[in-house]
């Protein structure tokens, strides 16, 4: 805040530029004092957007117009005039200037009841991934079909296989610990989530639908149980 004891005005930085509050006094003198101040600190004012609080002063179109012209010569644009007098406000409006400063947006207290989810992007592959095929994606991956040994899926997000997963799968490749891998039959050659790696245990009896995730830094596969809450 810049305050000049000799002159009768305050200069304050606001969101929309500078706010100059003009105090009591005779308008021509005040204007002159303001211009002197601006010339002294021309580098500070250069290119500024200026709002003027003129208080109770009553200004005519000629006063405001000439002030705006003088200011623009200094590279300052006068965009708003705030006044207690309706006449001055009207004059300002006629000259195309604002008469209110935008108030900072209030925190939204009532959240709208939005039931439309945007979700996240995924790719869908509707075929069997045979040995030698590689699927990399910077999101989630959904495969409808089998992933045979020798095939690879590398995803930044989660991997869902509606079929048998027997190849190599790496979910959360960029370190996403929340990534999961699930398959109707989970028997991967190697499974990685983020930085953790796991190998399927040999022979586990009847295949079942499983979901694999990181729990305390360990890759844990658990059967998908619709009754259990996850």
């Amino acid at each position: 805040m810049i305050e000049d004891v000799h002159s009768n005005f305050q200069i304050k930085g606001i969101r929309d530029g500078l706010l100059v509050t003009i105090g009591e006094g005779k308008w021509p003198e005040l204007q002159e004092a303001l211009m002197r101040q601006i010339e002294r600190q021309s580098s500070f004012f250069k290119g500024a957007k200026l709002a003027l609080d003129v208080g109770n002063h009553i200004l005519k179109a000629a006063d405001l117009g000439s002030l705006r012209d003088i200011l623009s010569e200094q590279g300052i644009s006068l965009w708003a005039v705030i006044s207690n007098s309706p006449t001055t406000e009207q004059t300002a409006q006629v000259l195309g200037m604002a008469t209110r400063l935008s108030t900072p947006r209030q925190e939204r207290t009532i959240r709208p009841l939005d039931t439309n989810l945007t979700g996240e992007n995924a790719v869908l592959v509707q075929r069997t991934l045979r040995s030698g095929f590689k699927l990399s994606h910077q999101g989630h991956v959904v495969v409808i079909g089998d992933v045979n040994p020798g095939a690879e899926i590398i995803a930044a997000g989660s991997v869902v296989v509606w079929g048998k997963l027997r190849g190599v799968v790496h979910a959360g490749v960029d370190g996403n610990n929340m990534a999961v891998v699930c398959a109707l039959e989970l028997d991967p050659t190697q499974l990685r989530i983020a930085g953790q790696m796991a190998v399927s245990p040999k022979k586990r009896g009847k295949p079942q639908h499983e979901i694999c995730r990181l729990i305390n830094g360990q890759v844990v596969a658990e059967p998908w149980n619709p009754k259990a809450k996850s």
Partner: protein, 267 residues
């Protein structure tokens, strides 16, 4: 007459591509079909050996492609089966001597006066495989009931799909029924479950195949023997006939299963 081009491939080596090609060629020729075999394994030829024709080679496929002879001159006629011909591979060159479009051109030239063109693909997925697959109408993938062979077959099937050569058909070669029964070998269902393509035949393991191969007398020429029978059945299925699959288990049925339940690993 418009020939169908059948490419026999596998990815892995040593699973029996050449044996299969030779025997299917013989079996189709026995059925009265006009057959020409092309050895796609330039530099490592051996279809001529298996067919017993190696001492009659004058020109080969590279000579045809490079214009040193007419295609008729490179075709060796089999003395046992006059409808069977072989275009051998060059032994002194490599796969790059022929391009996929050369293979298409050669096959198109042969199509008009044959029923079947069988191409024996080399192992691998490189140039030789590409050459062999380019003109194919039907692709037969040969595999053994072994994890490594099945893995390679899976890759090949994917590549065949990517080349838009339609769904390949599967031949499971060298299946040993007694090993399957003991649970020491993948069974046909295990293989089919993974590869998920149509099965056109299962050839049982038979040491007579090795003997016949060494003699240059394909086993399909021999009326007896289960392996020869299996190849002849595949040939008939290729022609579009419905041929039931052979029962490879000697004592299947209720008692056989009962025995297995009581004595797992026995027999």
């Amino acid at each position: 007459m418009t020939a169908k081009v059948v490419t026999v491939t596998s990815g892995k080596g040593g699973v029996g591509k050449t044996t299969t090609t030779a025997n299917l060629a013989v079996a189709l020729a026995l059925e009265g079909e006009k057959v020409v075999c092309i050895d796609g394994d330039i530099g490592l030829r051996n279809l001529d050996v298996v067919l017993g024709l190696e001492n009659r080679i004058v020109y080969d496929i590279v000579d045809v492609v490079e214009g040193r002879c007419r295609i008729r001159q490179a075709m060796i006629r089999d003395k046992r089966l006059p409808e069977l011909h072989l275009i051998p591979a060059a032994q002194t060159r490599d796969k790059n001597a022929v391009s996929p479009s050369d293979m298409v051109r050669v096959c198109d030239e042969l199509r008009s006066d044959h029923d079947w063109i069988l191409i024996d693909s080399p192992a691998g997925i490189e140039r030789g495989f590409r050459n062999s697959i380019a003109p194919a109408d039907i692709v037969l993938v040969v595999t053994n009931p072994e994890v490594s062979a099945v893995r390679d077959a899976d890759r090949i099937i994917g590549l065949v799909e990517a080349e838009e050569k339609g769904p390949a058909r599967l031949i499971i070669n060298r299946l040993n029924p007694s090993m399957v029964k003991r649970g020491d070998m993948l069974n046909a269902d295990d293989v089919l479950e993974l590869l998920a393509i149509e099965l056109i035949g299962i050839v049982p393991e038979d040491e007579n195949v090795i003997i016949s191969t060494n003699r240059g007398q394909p086993i399909a020429l021999d009326g007896k023997g289960r392996a020869g029978q299996a190849f002849r059945n595949i040939a008939r299925r290729l022609k579009g006939e419905q041929v039931p699959f052979m029962n490879l288990e000697e004592n299947a049925g209720f008692f056989g299963r009962l025995t297995r339940l009581i004595r797992p690993g026995g027999d």
